[in-house]
Symmetry: D2
Subunit: 413 residues, 4 copies
């Protein structure tokens, strides 16, 4: 028995790799294709169009082929409305629910395509019908599994869903300029200069910048550079863990980070206790803002965040000492706080932290600009390998990266 | 002004490096020493003894020298009772509180030395006085900062505290055999054989084994080997994250891990959704145990834990999908659960997870045997760099390590 | 001024990524394209065809576009003979010489296409005309720069050259199964099983296997497994450095590798001198073969190579101790020896050595099967990033990889 | 049967770890010790002294204990002359020859101690007796195995040899300040500032600086910074490979390095051929100096070396393209050239190259100051793990390191 279905692709489907991906999917999954129409964009501004019949020897195979195809931007020619199934309970998605990609997505509801709001991968899509006589006011959004409520109309199956993977930009842009894999052997200063002008551009356009940062920023002595970027308005939101804030404040209180003086490189003995003393002091003060207000903390990244009303989220983890009163210890609550930041951000800079960067990256649509900096190439590879359209990865030392970036942004521009 | 204090060291203080460390501390911190008595163990079983006067030009310098010295096992000759200060509030330690090392520690209370229970680094020490007429029943324990309660008698200052860093074993033992830094260029099979016999020895002595594991164990196809070790009684406790359990059950339900078939190496398209489907199925079932009872899950590590009553802790994190109902989402609660496991363990095997290993490692006294396996040498270095006396680090592929270990333990022994 | 040229592509040009690459090249280099004919293969066995006019605003730009296009398989529709220029001197190539890719290449000479022999990247192509009245007996080959001789007819310019980048296999094959980047988080045993059956297949077909190996094979205790594969006929050629042979023989003579006993894990003091003693003993014997013949060496990889007439090349380097008399100390001579091995090999296994693997990889056509094993993901990435069509990379511990591979090949198959 | 021998140690034997090491050796090798005299330095400037009888149950065991002890600075109390045996042939050392450490060493010859010249590890020691009636003019030097000539008087056995491992500096110095292992999480700018002042100090004292560099310096865009340091006289000698010189000149000729424009980050198509064109151009010119003289090369590191008479050694390897006429293709000849540089250097900076750094490091005495910079922590660990007394390792990006270093040295000082 052979079953088949007609799908179509349009746009810059060749140079974006969509055609290649789709042909590969069909072959890998054991199906066959028969191209019925193919008109290629004759120039770089013209779009191409392809319509083909995909066939397989079982309905199950065909369904998984079509599922994959449409995740890569090929859509059935005979659109039907998406299938909606009420969630059976809180945090319970119906069987066969559609799990999102991080690409812009539309849902067909009562004959019209609704753009899904707050797009993010591995979520359910919930449709909120509008007024009953029309679908004016109907809208759709993503929900993570634990946010689904009983009765939510969840999209199930494969029909009535359109996904728009990012196309290759027609012109070369600053972002996305790192082609060909992650490597430490790239021009460092020139890349930083590029990131600096991109950062400037985002700010000039009124965009919001989210910095996701790990404690290595403090240990490597880049704290002052980051504090300066916060103070000068280049950072709108900050995501970090308890340890980042602790070492940042430890540096203010004791001149050390993880017990090492980041200027003299001395290891004052007893220094390894400084972070614990710091935590107990901030706890006694009642939190970071209170510690700043009391004059207990007078410099650093957290200080500048407080002074400049930069929204910060400190997400707790099981390896935390303390933690500080500001640290959100519940993982779901913390993830939701990160999610809000991620959805507001126009540009995200991930600095030497795998855990927080993965957490934030999970919430990002593929259209957000991402800069990822780490000294471990495997970390950069893992973070960039999430289908972001506009991403720059840099294998470098954050301890020299941030001072150089601050220099380009604040002095040389 | 010169101030001074007399300290003494005893034991195998030369070959354990204690003398060297202590002389170095005095010099580094700008003090001077005057050795008054030094009797060296004339043979490898005899202990040595050193008494010296340490001097510095300020009381503050002297205090920090003495603080460091006693953390390395040098103790004042004129012991006084430890100073105790009531905690001013819940989660508030008094100023100047003593922050622990991970070495066995004693506190002098009413003229007698109390061994501190549940030793763990970066904690406060709380003394519980016994009956008021004697100190019968007096005892001392560590408390992490967030567990301190108002009124707890917390040790402050430097007096009346004795620390016992681990000595170099007199005979060569299996553990601690990896000298000279972490390297991938070590004999792999022979090292695994050694770990296998150590594991066997711990079990033969009735000891408890805690496995701390990351999802790489599943992705690399080592799941069956670990499941077998659980089934055969070599694992008493398991610490992992939400992702580990998800991928373990995904493998059972869909044959994949992170979407890849770990046997055929196929990437069934749609496979990248399997983990989300898995999560929603376990949520619907009400948890892992319920899913096993329902017959939804019939193999794997989590299955064997349920079937063999192996205590497991799944600690949540901000990057989790779902999470599963079993996952403890509050970091403090999760850390306390790990702490219980850590204090019960006689041997800890850390398998390809940095976050959970650091969390567990933080709770371990320096006397617990630790095996740490990761493919990233920096991870192994970081985990072993915590002063454990009996530790083996191995830079290897957990996907071949576990099958080989299981083979040695279950077949070849 | 606009200049233009017509090029055509044929084959599985979509799913192999050729179309995508070519469109990208034109856009990146500032040209424009106008697709004149495009017939897409209607099914997975049908080939596609595309003819397009490429235009640019200068002859120089157009030339570099066309140069790039044809390196990706797009060829001018109006083939002319290649331009040939005599080399002005020994080791001197004429200006504008054509530098090869590692893909199968043809040169148009007197109206006919000659397949270039001994294809290898970054070489000149030298045409040897046959009999003067016809081009019977004409042939073409690659020459590295230092092998070019005065008067050699070297291909210059861009015309008359056809390159055939590898196409995506129509069916899934064992090789090339690692898609999506290099990662340690892949199923280890299943991958090794796949490599084992591939190795078996090559041998069954009478193919030749070249093992390129570093000293880590000895240090990690995998020596016996590799020796067994040599003895059982699975290795036809071996490439290594002086250090590999030294440590292999050190193990035989002293039971150690780099001074560590690879079985007991002891570090016999004085062990760090064993390699120097080993070298001096082999020098005294007159070489490895002589040492085997004398009975000085009775086991190990080099021993099995000698006993089983496996061709080995020991290439010298500046970090060598000794070196052994067998080591080729001149880099050009050593490279030529490797080149012979590379061109004869049907399958190459690169085991934990970057230097030798790069050297051999430089000499390989893109059609040779390659297996690359290293514990450092950056090494695997670098080695696979050379355009091989049939390559498997594995981030694992060679000390467990080789015993497991030998087990699959010799026992389980 | 018990055999024994008396040895003594003197100096700062406790805080340098010598006592600890020696006690450990005796225990590890199954011997026993009996301390007869031990006087400990009563203050940090006083030296200590220890005399002990070491015993073992066989002469062989005792010998290997004593061998190890004296490599760690413990010397027999009853010094005898060293045993000298003539080398039986060229490149043939006599059996039982003494193989050197990299520490300062003395040989007892005719009752007097001769300092061994050109100390370097894994060498033979050859004594050149002076005038026959006295030993005026007698001297000793190291020879690598392949430099030994028939008849050379080679030191054999264990007697009459004194080794002086480096002691812990009495005061804290810039160098050697990185204690506690290699880590990327160290203060980057402060460490660079320290290295800058150390470099300045060496130059102020008239010392010689050897830079050992890999091509990553060019790829990461740090070429101009290094060229400037050469031009300003901070580099006296340069060691590199063929590839470094090729990419440095490629940047001059084509604006690219490995085909990427290090300023604009463009990948001019055809760029991947630039290095081959560069090589052929330099070959045509007859070498680098000729290319500079002809005006073919007008900037960069090699250009500055030529213009400023900085001695450079380009050591060939099997992965070289070309090579350039300047490249020494014979490994022994190249190693000897490196050896001359190494022995002349007062400070060595190893920049992002493992092969050349190991080669140079092999030739260095333990007293030379070493700075090692690499982005891979395993490389830094491996390079520092060679017993250098005065070494700084830094895990950072050489592309930001060198500009920052040049800034500190040339501008901020």
């Amino acid at each position: 028995m052979t079953v088949s279905r007609v799908v179509e692709l349009e746009g810059h489907i060749i140079d974006s790799g969509m055609m290649q991906a789709c042909f590969g999917i069909v072959m890998d999954l054991g199906g066959a294709f028969d191209v019925e129409e193919f008109s290629v964009g004759r120039s770089k501004t013209e779009e191409s169009y392809c319509r083909m019949t995909v066939s397989a020897d079982s309905e199950a195979t065909l369904r998984s082929i079509v599922h994959e195809l449409h995740q890569h931007g090929a859509n059935p020619t005979d659109p039907k409305d998406a299938e909606l199934t009420p969630a059976p309970g809180d945090r319970e998605v119906p069987e066969g629910f559609y799990s999102t990609t991080n690409h812009p997505t539309e849902i067909r509801f009562e004959g019209e395509w609704l753009a899904v709001e707050r797009i993010e991968m591995d979520c359910a899509v919930v449709v909120h019908p509008g007024d009953d006589s029309s679908n004016d006011g109907s809208w759709a959004e993503t929900k993570v599994l634990n946010a689904v409520e009983a009765g939510d109309l969840v999209v199930t199956g494969e029909t009535g869903i359109r996904v728009h993977p990012p196309e290759r930009p027609r012109e070369r842009r600053a972002f996305g300029f790192m082609q060909g894999g992650v490597s430490a052997e790239r021009p460092s200063e020139s890349t930083i200069a590029r990131i600096a002008s991109e950062l400037q551009e985002v700010k000039d356009e009124g965009g919001k910048v989210l910095v996701v940062t790990g404690p290595a920023v403090i240990h490597t002595g880049a704290r002052e550079a980051l504090a300066e970027l916060v103070r000068e308005g280049y950072v709108d939101m900050l995501s970090a863990g308890n340890g980042f804030a602790v070492h940042d404040i430890e540096r203010d209180r004791y001149g050390t980070s993880l017990g090492m003086d980041t200027e003299t490189l001395d290891h004052p003995r007893k220094g390894h206790k400084h972070h614990i003393y710091t935590i107990s002091e901030v706890i006694r003060a009642g939190g970071i803002r209170a510690a700043v207000d009391e004059g207990l903390v007078g410099s650093g990244v957290m200080y500048e965040c407080v002074e400049n009303d930069v929204d910060y989220v400190l997400a707790g983890s099981i390896r935390d000492d303390g933690p500080l009163p500001d640290t959100i210890t519940d993982a779901i609550e913390a993830q939701n706080a990160l999610r809000e930041q991620a959805h507001e951000a126009d540009m995200v800079m991930m600095l030497s932290t795998l855990l927080h960067s993965v957490a934030v990256g999970n919430c990002l649509p593929s259209t957000t600009r991402v800069v990822c900096v780490d000294i471990n190439p495997a970390t950069v590879t893992q973070l960039l390998d999430r289908g972001s359209a506009q991403a720059v990865g840099m294998v470098t030392d954050v301890g020299t990266f941030l001072p150089t970036l601050a220099d380009y942004v604040l002095t040389r521009s």
